[in-house]
Symmetry: C2
């Protein structure tokens, strides 16, 4: 048995995290002695950069799955082992994606803003998910969880990933086929990582390819969508509407045209709140400290060359 | 083989219905010659009453599941065989119930009304359905469908029906145990029929028994809820909020206090729109005409003594 690995939690701890380190076979340590660092503030890459000038860990655990701001800040030294929380928040985010899909199909934003009863008559445009086609763009943790939770709703589920490798329950295609798939989708859920390759993945051409009543959902990263092109597509009726938990820029400025569109619902990046995340993060820290202590492969390994 | 039963469709037909009658082995007929009447306007019991003064069918098919207005109008002659559409719209309504549950857990009404980005911070109150307890009040077509579609979300699903007869995937109790079950539910979905027995089933005592952060969903009938008691419970913070597709009275008047509450989302009785209903109704008419032609038991039989 190796010595207990020395783990530093920063910038502050959360309830249960220190216990997770101990249960995993680690010992808490100050930064200068740390073999591993658990960094739990997803919004402070510079704080971590600063810490790493005073610490020489072999491994760094990041708290969330979307870590492009850590790459942008130049924190991700490929000489170290980096893990992030990819996968573990998939179910929470997928629930939010489903909420935004149903908000679209049932016109919940429109109804929430009504202050009087609109007699629906016989031509009310609400729709069912049953029988509709869902295109999941990105079949990582969120995308797979979304495919799973919509199963009993009887949708046709199509998805894309880089390799086109089959995912259970999903008619899987390569990401490069996106433009051919978009015309068939009633709902498009963006669940991909933001990298230089995927930035503005949804722009003029993609919106033009979508059905005029299709509903776009983004629970991944705002930068995956060209916001000006989205506004244009909505104004021109090229797509039916959008449910956005993430925007570009974020926060979305006041007076931005998206705030006043009837077929747009914006939630302020709450698909996976801190309260939802902490219990999952605790279990991940426990697992990864155990694996680190035993010299096993860690969960959620970051590939610095891919950017996620 | 008996003669082809003579079927009258009224007050007007919908695409595919006449064909469904023919496929089922029936022949279209004027009211005075009809053995069976398919009445497709759910909002006009008096039109049907009028028709029945000129027609003597043995069987009447009603278009929706909630038929209390036909009882109230005195149309339901127990000497005839009555069928309604109970069960067949369950899935569409259950989808709407799920939409309203997620609207509650993800605060969609609040977010839809925001016109600027509210930085969620680390204490944002959105919740996951996973791990929460759902109480389904009424395990007919809607309730069973709801239990089915929430399956992959990992909720604890408790339900009630008159008999307490077990329903798959649901911890089933008798309706009389409602008050003991309410304190444990994070989401309460009303999916029961409206009868004299169930009117105002949710009133002061029931709201007082609920968790202060529980979310009430009603996709059944407005009259199941005592509206004044609901307003009071919301104002006093006895419950967390409500998603209502049905209200009492309906339409809900302008300026009613429910319209301006942050934790209330009202949709104007659109859980099962006409466009969603027609394909299902077509299949039901086909099945019931076939059964009627063969002298078999019909689907969706109404028990006049129970009122549904």
């Amino acid at each position: 048995m190796p010595d207990r690995p020395r783990i530093h939690i920063a910038p502050v701890s959360e309830p249960g995290l220190e216990d997770a380190v101990s249960r995993g076979g680690g010992a808490l340590a100050p930064p200068e002695d740390a073999d591993g660092v658990v960094w739990i503030n997803p919004r402070d890459p510079h704080g971590l950069k600063d810490l790493l000038t005073r610490s020489s860990p072999r491994w760094v655990q990041l708290p969330f799955a979307g870590i492009e701001s850590f790459f942008a800040a130049g924190v991700i030294d490929p000489q170290l082992t980096w893990t992030c929380a990819k996968g573990i928040y998939g179910h929470a985010c997928a629930e939010h994606a489903l909420a935004l899909m149903l908000a679209g199909s049932r016109r919940l934003a429109h109804h929430a803003r009504s202050r009087s009863w609109e007699e629906p008559g016989f031509g009310s445009p609400e729709r069912r998910l049953t029988g509709a086609t869902l295109l999941i763009v990105g079949l990582g943790g969120i995308g797979r969880a979304l495919a799973h939770i919509v199963e009993p709703l009887g949708m046709r589920v199509v998805g894309t990933n880089r390799s086109g490798t089959d995912v259970e329950g999903v008619e899987t295609h390569r990401s490069t086929e996106l433009l051919e798939l978009l015309p068939h989708a009633d709902f498009v859920a963006i669940c991909a990582a933001l990298t230089e390759e995927t930035r503005n993945m949804f722009s003029t051409e993609e919106f033009a390819a979508m059905k005029s009543d299709a509903w776009l959902v983004n629970v991944a990263r705002g930068g995956l969508v060209d916001t000006d092109a989205l506004v244009h597509a909505l104004q021109e009726g090229e797509i039916g509407g959008a449910g956005l938990d993430v925007t570009d820029p974020e926060p979305l400025p006041e007076e931005h045209p998206l705030w006043s569109m009837d077929a747009v619902l914006i939630t302020p990046h709450v698909a996976n709140t801190w309260d939802m995340a902490v219990p999952e993060l605790r279990e991940l820290v426990y697992s990864n400290v155990s694996r680190f202590a035993r010299g096993e492969e860690l969960l959620g390994l970051v590939d610095p060359s891919l950017g996620y």
